[in-house]
Amino acid sequence: METCPSVKNILLLDSEGKRIAVKYYSDDWPTNNAKEAFEKAVFNKTQKTNARTEAEITMLENNILVYKFVQDLYFYVTGGEDENEIILAAVLQGFFDAVGILLRGNVDKREALENLDLILLCIDEIVDGGIILETDANSIATKVASNSVDAGAPLSEQTISQALATAREHLARSLLK
């Protein structure tokens, strides 16, 4: 139907399928048990595949699932079965790259847990109530950086412009890799 492209959930799991940061935008999983069951199913279905070079895609329970893995972090984005798969992949890529920028290139579970606030803000700036807000990783990272006024967050030890400079640096580095 003619609806805005929408995302059902964004998940960040570890290498054992346990939650690091998740956000659901749909009523398909009303209870926490349902959500955990879904995460378990997702992990079981995808853990044996290799989604490290390119984003992979599959279907689960009438939903489309795009996902990408790095180190011990597993990124998932879910949409309805009639959704444009490439749009979902763009959301996934934006999320993936933004996390890369925010964690300054050290994308693994420990860094993610230590910077959980950044990750959560990041997810929040990508999708609002299912509607896509932004898919460009730089813009997402900028928004998160200007949001985090926490003493503990590494990026806010610098001023905003310095944080942006660091982000640009990282991006350049990752392009050269």
Binding site: E2, C4, I57, N84, G129, I131, L133
Partner: protein, 790 residues
Amino acid sequence: MTSKVIIVTSSLMKDMNSRTDMYRANAIRVLCRITDGTLLTQIERYLKQAIVDKNPVVASAALVSGIHLLQTNPEIVKRWSNEVQEAVQSRAALVQFHALALLHQIRQNDRLAVSKLVTSLTKGTVRSPLAQCLLIRYTSQVIRESGVNTQSGDRPFYDYLEGCLRHKAEMVIFEAARAITELSGVTTRELTPAITVLQLFLSSSKPVLRFAAVRTLNKVAMSHPMAVTNCNIDMESLISDQNRSIATLAITTLLKTGNESSVDRLMKQITNFMSDIADEFKIVVVEAIRSLCLKFPLKYRSLMNFLSNILREEGGFEYKKAIVDSIVILIRDIPDAKESGLLHLCEFIEDCEFTYLSTQILHFLGNEGPKTSDPSKYIRYIYNRVILENATVRASAVSTLAKFGAMIDSLKPRIFILLRRCLFDNDDEVRDRATLYLNTLGGDGSVVETDKDVKEFLFGSLDIPLTNMETSLKNYIQNPSEEPFEINSVPREVKSQPLAEKKAPGKKPTGLGTPLTGPTPVGDTYERLLSSIPEFASFGKLFKSSGPVELTEAETEYAVNVIKHIFDRHVVFQYNCSNTIPEQLLENVFVIVDASEAEEFSEVGSKPLKTLPYDTPGQTFVAFEKPEGFPSVGKFSNVLRFAVKEVDPSTGEAEDDGVEDEYQLEDFEVVAADYMVKVGVSNFRNAWESMGPDFERIDEYGLGPRESLAESVNAVISLLGMQPCEGTEVVPSNSRSHSCLLSGVYIGNVKVLVRLSFGIDASKEVAMKLAVRSEDENVSDAIHVIVAGG
């Protein structure tokens, strides 16, 4: 509590005007989440400003919040149209995207406005791929709603969609390709550019693109297989794709688009592939192979071999069941495949771990085996089951042997020897069955013609619902009688829950506790209820009870519905009454029925309801006589009469004096469909053939102009009150003709089968051909009378 809320909201409102853009954006998002109508009107001003703010993050936040708010406060959001319109022209990419989404939602009920929006934007600049995708979706909507106009050259906006196929962003290209494939009534010429683009995606390095393309092509292949054949080569290479979902989709698409010559090659590739994939994918492939075989019946040999090979391999129950079902369907529909198919199944049951499948196959063998050219070769397989398997399979095998014996007289002596050996089995059921069959087939094992009744017994189906049978048998055991149990006495109607779940409509929610129909809500316990009433006990067998028909609106003081019980010469109306007023107690409740518009009926008795307290439903009955065996129809008006006493709600005691009162109820009708019981048959063709054409009546009717084919079909089905078989009540949309198969049992226990053919032309005139077969010519005539009058 409210003071804390005000603190939060005022802080947020302050943030909404902060100098820092991010604070403004996120404050807007949060506020719109927690707002209610009044707060919203206060901040509306700020939101409108935010929509046209220079900072794109702020504008997007406001617009997205607007989209969410449209669900709860649409009138308020609609007032922002002008600002949203301005935002659509914004230079910031995503602002245009969000504004477009919101504007479309605001205007979506106005077809003209959407059309104008699409027209202006397709000519203007669209600044982000996401907005472009949205525009493609809206364009498709406009095309769809502008009606089928393909005779006059290209569709409107088709050029725009085709242009998008050359966009830079992959998501736009894909969205456009998908939109083109989903156009209704799309032609091959229109499809070609889209399919070319999708074909390129098939060889992309990105799994997401390959998946998206192959999934779309799979859907296209269902309706336009010829258009997809160009992609076959690319798809064949996808069979070995690492991503198993992609590989399975590729295979199923190839199975749909393959032609006869490629079938063999495909089968070879698939055989290697099957061992790699999981059961759920395998089932999909098996079903695709089944459709392929039905499409190319000449290729049955290689496909059947393939199916039997995979049947031999490891697999779960669902998977093996799917394969067995496919083989059974092939045997049924391709006569040449029968012998090899049956043999494959026999080999399978030699080693089958699933009792359910073994018994199904044995049953099927029993029905089909005797009709083959050399039935005796199956006997060995069947008898081996009797020796080797568990009790359930052994019992099933015994029944199968009996069927062979019944149908093939020359084999009878040998079957008898085998059956006699079964008399020494360990299990009761096996011994009992063996004894039963030995006796019914004629005890001496000579080569004689089997009785017709015996064949009917062995091969006929039990068309009585088992729950009703169980209840009737229980009744019979509890009330022993001189006469033997009569299977025709079991009512055939299956009453599903509506009674137990039916809630008494009423003012007080507590009144919803007890179901409306009183003590015995299920199925044929109506029979017990009615026979316990001496006045009605002489009416004989209950033929059918209708569902409850409401005679009062919801939320009234007294809720009444009626159930029509049809007997041979009588009808009994059971009025289920419920009193929803705690301060009242009704006594001596009965119904005055005016049957002046139902001439063939005459009232013969009634049974009033002594008391009807609050929240306890009760029944009162009125009985009418009518001509025997005749489907009389008529309209009945009803008035509820009673004496009402005031009740003190606190003590529950009633006054002594009652006041006579009456309450008008709605009318109801007895119609022809009330005399028909819905009884389905599993194989309509067999039943039609065995019914015979002796009492067949065929006629044609013009139904005049109708809303749609589906509406006419449903109208006739409900007029006749018969059960649609084999899913033929579903009319595919846009079809010009439809065939419907109905079955039922008419009063007098006459089986009736009906074949309907419908046709609708461009001016929506519907014509119908009705063919009736039944066991009684009067009934066949009666069916036509019903349709002619309806």
